[in-house]
């Protein structure tokens, strides 16, 4: 019962701030709302007993990506003073399309999984597992990153991706020599 209350609070935080992200004209406020949304999602992870990923969400999304976004907002800030609508010309079509796709998703989920809580129906509540399994899930994940029958290839690919992202961003963002830095 208390878990359900917590779930609804977190879902409300996540969705309200997500809507604020797409609706607010002031980009700085939108970035703040984005952070609140990330926080809500981190709470959802913790509710799903993935505490490590909840904290990783905090570390990466709020501690790093949000800072990148806010820096970018500051650097392109002249845009923020426009009084015009934050939406582009296809806003109505986007709204209809989004609502339609959401409706389809709801119907599909409703068909596949029970919507009411209950232990008797399958997936009506989180299956009980040995606490040790949850307790060791972080170390197990670490092990599977680097074991040969695990995910060592995606793991190394992730580091190559990060390297490429770093090098690429520096090449793109760094002003070429001679170019006047007019930021």
């Amino acid at each position: 019962m208390s878990q359900q209350i917590v779930f609804f609070i977190l879902a409300a935080i996540t969705l309200t701030s997500a809507i604020a992200v797409v609706a607010l004209r002031n980009l700085f406020h939108a970035a703040l709302a984005l952070m609140a949304s990330f926080l809500g999602v981190a709470g959802i992870y913790i509710l799903l007993e993935a505490g490590f990923l909840g904290m990783a969400q905090l570390l990466v999304y709020i501690g790093a990506i949000s800072i990148l976004i806010i820096f970018a907002v500051m650097m392109t800030r002249r845009m923020m003073q426009t009084r015009e609508t934050p939406f582009n010309s296809q806003v109505v079509a986007a709204l209809i399309g989004t609502l339609l796709s959401f409706a389809v998703l709801v119907v599909v989920i409703g068909q596949l999984y029970p919507l009411v809580p209950g232990t008797d129906t399958m997936l009506g509540s989180a299956p009980a597992v040995d606490p040790a399994i949850i307790e060791n899930s972080t170390a197990r994940m670490g092990l599977s990153f680097v074991s040969a029958d695990g995910y060592v290839l995606p793991f190394e690919a992730a580091s190559v991706l990060l390297l490429a992202a770093l090098v690429g961003s520096i090449i793109i963002a760094w002003p070429r020599s001679g170019e006047e830095e007019n930021l």
């Binding site: 878990q3 917590v6 913790i46 509710l47 007993e49 505490g51 490590f52 990783a56 570390l59 990466v60 501690g63 790093a64 990506i65 800072i67 990148l68 820096f71 970018a72 500051m74 650097m75 800030r77 002249r78 606490p131 949850i134 307790e135 972080t138 170390a139 197990r140 994940m141 670490g142 092990l143 990153f145 680097v146 074991s147 040969a148 060592v152 793991f155 190394e156 992730a158 580091s159 190559v160 990060l162 390297l163 992202a165 770093l166 090098v167 961003s169 520096i170 963002a173 760094w174 002003p175 830095e181 930021l183």
Partner: protein, 118 residues
């Protein structure tokens, strides 16, 4: 596991009280007579010229960028470190390769000169 986080949840719920109490107390105890001059932003006595949200160097973005990469690295390395007892030499080699690839990024940034503060 979830019981552990119950404490954190209570902490998060209660902790705003502790900073809010003094701030609200200050609001109640302190005087409140605002006037336009008092509310001017501080700029060493002269009036603010131009708009405040001036723009900043690309440098800040680059530092944040390198930080993001190492932050992700932490997300990978901490679970591996927690599982250190069960790792074999192959796993260590994979981790070392991972760190080495990211160090490459740092070396690139260094040699490119983007880490120089100008």
């Amino acid at each position: 596991m979830l019981a552990d986080w119950q404490y954190i949840a209570i902490f998060v719920a209660l902790s705003p009280i502790f900073p809010l109490a003094p701030v609200v107390l200050n609001r109640l105890l302190g005087p409140h007579r605002p006037n336009p001059v008092k509310q001017q932003t501080y700029e060493c006595g002269i009036e603010t010229v131009g708009d405040t949200w001036i723009q900043f160097k690309i440098q800040y973005y680059i530092y944040a960028l390198v930080f993001v990469v190492f932050d992700i690295e932490a997300v990978f390395l901490f679970p591996i470190a927690a599982a250190y007892g069960q790792l074999d030499l192959f796993a260590i080699a994979a981790t070392v390769l991972f760190i080495f690839l990211l160090a490459d990024g740092l070396i690139y940034a260094w040699s490119r000169g983007v880490l120089e503060w100008v």
